[in-house]
């Protein structure tokens, strides 16, 4: 009842402010008249009575204001009034308003964009029902390295694990789709029948795979992705049941996935087929499958881990194991989300930190602007105070202005974020998972709004208090106030320099890391090399010897292309993302063999002149020749690091090794070559073995062509492709790339972080320049008279310049010192992105400090120059 009455009376006052005002005025007026009447009754004259009544009441306007101030609606009204007033003030100073909102807009926008990326990539669950139940399972080797799963292991888990609802092994598959002008290679996956069950997504058309489809020898079937279906099948719903020819075989189409389906475990895949494994196949025990599983509802991650641990340690007779997949070290189980995003995490969090710093610097800048503005407005504030505005009221007014600024800045920031997010997706390295999902959505808008409010307080509080501090009355009519805010402004400059230094150190460290990384010797001669992949497919090339003949003929045709100086084939190409490793055993096995390192030895099945074409240096013995063919004795060339570790103190030449199965035929080592970076420039895993492609125990379907050409290597590509197709027009030639680009791509994730860091650091540097310049300018403006007096007393221009500059440089120096201390701690956030450099790298810190000092010097010289030109006669005139 009471509350209702309060609300309705308040609302009435809000709705008809004139009416409420009128009523109050009438009541005050009536009081005045009654009081005057009472005085008159005591015999005072009309005029005297009225004067006495006025005296008794005080100022009617004051009383009205006192009454009006009561009631909740008054707060709303005052806020709206403040808002209107703030809007008017900000319109009156367009220069200040534009600079402040742009600064805040860029800061808030950048922060919102990075937040969107972090939110979509790292925080939001994968786009599957109950995605947290989807797990990735790995075998673990004795040294803790995770291994791909063998089919035998997956089969045992499927039968024994009770805590898993669905389970599916999978491996990449790149079938070639024939029928168009050029054969198209598709990204695909061979998956266990439970794959779509694990993800919890059904095809939009048709059905997924049944266990019968997954049986060895079953008729080939496929499920298409929406994109492929639209691109190659015209989105025809009648495709279900029809066949599609992949690698020359007819696959019956079972289903089409929904348009928004995201294949998080292997992005880009648009066709699936069953694995079709059984235990009779030799590959059943190869570590080459990835395993995904969906936990049963209610089964926690820990419960799954415990159960799998138990299964690993307790083999049963129904599921015999082989020694290399005996599961003695258990499994590694982690959520698919962590698995997918682990690589992007450090860079994204580092970027979030960096953008936070940019925003902080922007806030400090705007706070500095507001501080200077507050000083200029002391006269105005004093007038308002004299008219009855309380201290709190003035602070509220000033804060309202910073809220308006921040909200306008935030609105601009959302626009900035929308553009920045698109740029981010374009710039992002190919390895950034879920990049296409990044967007400015509702969450990001809420974030931007919350951020704007926080910024409003952060930016407005200090200036608001500073502007209203002390006795305002003395400032009435004085206009711009004397220097009072020096300390606050100095602190802002120091803070700004410190923050910018942290950011600069971060980008400096990243810059040097990327430079060092790109300076790393990849182990071959990059310039002039162009590479592409030849994917042989189709029934015509089904048997090994035909396939080898095709490759040999294609290679010979490529060699004839004008401009090509050398060409060779290899089963895996360095820095291309391929990672093909085998166990390598010495024959006879020595007593003390240190065994395999990491995931095994890189195996390269190559044409004889591969090492020469790549420019891999021969260190000892001989390379492979065309005489080392199918009929000749098996020979191998090993890398220097393999020779060093597996044959310590021994010349490996003449020793024999087996590659892959322990019962495979041995190869005799004939030469040692330099190490080559296979997976990444940053990794030192160079143990490799090179074997003649004709002596390997099966013929690879996919080989990479390495071509060395005169001049611009890209120019020969069309001719090289035609040369391959002149041998067989149905074979796909894909992944054309200059070797130099592959090398650069190896530093991709760091480059991505570096580019954004550089952008942020540049922004911070500009802001610091503007901040220092603004702060010193304010100082000079306030002390114009003092400077004039000094000039009149004979101070030289040089002395005046140094007076101002010294100040700026001293503040910068303090900021730099604090920034160095902060960087030593903060650089921990990017330590995983650094390469070959300490995060306390002295050269980086020094050069960054020098850069910042130089910027401060340039920024300070503008106000210093102004100080030097102060007219000595000015103080005389001003008095």
């Amino acid at each position: 009842m009471t509350l209702l009455r309060r609300v309705t009376l308040g609302l009435r006052a809000l709705a008809r402010p004139d009416l409420a005002e009128r009523e109050t005025a009438d009541e005050v007026e009536h009081y005045l008249r009654e009081a005057a009447a009472a005085h008159r009754a005591l015999g005072l004259s009309e005029e005297a009575a009225f004067r006495a009544a006025r005296l008794e009441l005080g100022s009617p306007a004051g009383v009205r204001e006192e009454i009006r101030r009561h009631g909740w609606e008054n707060g709303v009204e005052a806020f709206l009034g403040d808002l209107r007033y703030a809007g008017r003030r900000l319109r009156l100073e367009p220069g200040f308003t534009v600079i402040a909102t742009l600064t805040l807009g860029l800061g808030i926008g950048a922060a919102t964009a990075i937040f969107s990326a972090v939110n979509h990539v790292l925080i939001r669950p994968l786009p599957y029902p109950e995605a947290e139940r989807i797990l990735a399972v790995w075998d673990i080797r004795e040294d803790g390295v995770q291994l791909d799963i063998a089919y035998g292991t997956a089969r045992e888990l499927a039968a024994r694990a009770r805590s898993l609802e669905h389970l599916a092994a999978m491996k990449p598959w790149q079938p070639t789709l024939l029928g168009a002008a050029e054969p198209e290679r598709l990204e695909g996956q061979q998956v266990g029948a439970g794959y779509f069950g694990v993800l919890g997504v059904r095809p939009a058309l048709g059905r997924g795979f049944s266990p019968a489809d997954d049986a060895a020898g079953a008729a080939p079937v496929a499920v298409l992705g929406d994109g492929l279906w639209r691109r190659r099948f015209g989105a025809d719903p009648g495709v279900i049941g029809r066949t599609v020819t992949l690698d020359g075989l007819p696959y019956q189409i079972l289903g089409v996935m929904p348009p928004r389906f995201e294949n998080a475990a292997a992005p880009g895949v648009e066709v699936w087929t069953p694995l079709g494994y059984d235990m009779s196949q030799g590959r059943a025990w190869g570590h080459h499958l990835r395993l995904l599983a969906r936990a049963r509802p209610g089964a926690s991650l820990d419960a799954v881990r415990r159960e799998l641990e138990t299964i690993a340690l307790h083999p049963v007779a129904d599921f015999p194991r082989v020694p290399w997949a005996a599961l003695e070290h258990g499994f590694r189980v982690r959520p698919l989300q962590d698995e997918v995003t682990a690589g992007a995490r450090p860079a994204l969090f580092a970027l979030l930190g960096a953008v936070g710093i940019v925003l902080a610097v922007a806030c400090v800048n705007v706070a500095g602007l507001l501080l200077a503005r507050g000083a200029r407005r002391r006269g105005e504030l004093a007038v308002r105070a004299a008219l009855g505005a309380g201290h709190q009221r003035l602070i509220r007014q000033l804060l309202t202005e910073s809220v308006v600024l921040s909200l306008v800045g935030g609105a601009a920031g959302v626009g900035v974020a929308a553009v920045a997010v698109r740029a981010l997706v374009v710039l992002s390295p190919a390895g950034l998972p879920r990049a296409h999902a990044i967007a400015v959505d509702g969450t990001a808008l809420v974030f931007a709004l919350a951020l704007s409010m926080a910024v409003a307080v952060a930016v407005g509080l200090l200036p608001a208090f500073a502007a209203t501090r002390g006795d305002l009355r003395e400032a009435v009519g004085r206009g711009p106030a004397p220097a009072r805010h020096g300390a606050g402004r100095d602190a802002l400059v120091v803070a700004q320099v410190m923050l910018a230094l942290v950011l600069l150190v971060g980008s400096g460290l990243l810059f040097r890391s990327v430079r060092r990384l790109l300076a790393v010797d990849a182990g071959f001669d990059t310039p002039g090399l162009v590479t592409m992949q030849i994917q042989s497919s189709g029934p015509r090339l089904e048997d090994d010897s035909t396939r080898l003949r095709f490759f040999a003929a294609a290679l010979e045709a490529v060699r004839q292309v004008p401009g090509v100086t050398a060409a060779a084939l290899t089963s895996q190409l360095p820095l291309s993302g391929e990672d093909d490793r085998y166990g390598l055993h010495l024959d006879p096995a020595p007593a003390a063999d240190p065994g395999e390192l990491g995931g095994g030895t890189y195996r390269y099945a190559v044409s004889p002149d591969y090492l020469r074409t790549m420019g891999v240096p021969l260190l000892r013995g001989r390379g492979l020749t065309s005489a080392d063919d199918a009929g000749a004795p098996r020979v191998a060339v090993v890398s220097a690091s393999l020779a060093r570790r597996r044959f310590p103190g021994v010349d490996p030449i003449g020793h024999r090794v087996r590659v892959g199965p322990a019962d495979s035929p041995p190869y005799t080592i004939v030469g040692v070559v330099g190490d080559v970076k296979q997976v990444s420039l940053a990794l030192d895993e160079g143990e490799a073995v090179y074997l003649p492609v004709s002596q390997w125990h099966f013929a690879d379907r996919v080989l990479s062509l390495v071509v060395r050409a005169r001049g611009e290597p890209g120019r020969v590509v069309p001719a090289v492709r035609s040369a391959v197709w002149s041998v067989d027009p149905d074979q796909a030639v894909v992944r054309v790339a200059a070797m130099g680009d592959l090398v650069k791509a190896s530093a991709e994730d760091r480059r991505f972080a570096l580019e954004l860091f550089e952008g942020f650091a540049l922004a911070a540097l500009v802001l610091v320049g503007v901040g220092v310049c603004g702060s010193l300018s304010g100082r000079v403006a306030e002390r114009t008279r003092e400077i004039g007096v000094r000039a009149a007393l004979g101070a030289s221009r040089g002395a005046l310049v140094s007076l101002v500059l010294r100040r700026g440089l001293a503040l910068t120096a303090i900021g730099i010192a604090m920034g160095i201390a902060a960087s030593l701690v903060a650089s921990r956030a990017i330590s995983s992105l650094l390469y070959g450099i300490s995060r306390a790298d002295a050269a980086t810190y020094l050069s960054v400090a020098a850069l910042l000092g130089a910027v401060a010097l340039v920024a300070g010289s503008v106000p210093a120059w102004r100080a030097a030109r102060v007219d000595p006669a000015l103080p005389l005139r001003a008095e």
Binding site: E23, A38, A41, E66
Partner: protein, 121 residues
Amino acid sequence: MLGSSRPGAPVDQPSTDVVQGTLDMLILKSVSLQPMHGYGIGRRIEQISRGVFRINPGSLLTALKRLERAGWLDAEWRETENARRAKYYILTREGRKQLAVETADWSRRVSAIARLLEAEG
């Protein structure tokens, strides 16, 4: 705050501020006898207290607004006896209850203070 004397107030005695928190009670009490306008309420409190309590008009009118909002007073514009329009305040039922509560509370406090003073004396 007020520099001048008011009509009807003893000039030689210093006036006292209304005891903190009792203004509401004094207003409710005044209005409980008959509906009154703001000036009338002020005069009545001053007269009955023989000029001991003088109420600043600003505080009085603000308090009236607050009590109206609280639902203890109703307000109505009426003609006064000398044919002026004035805002008359009327005690509501809740106002009467509130007055009883405040009065009881006040008596309790006064007797407690009295007891304390006697004990000291």
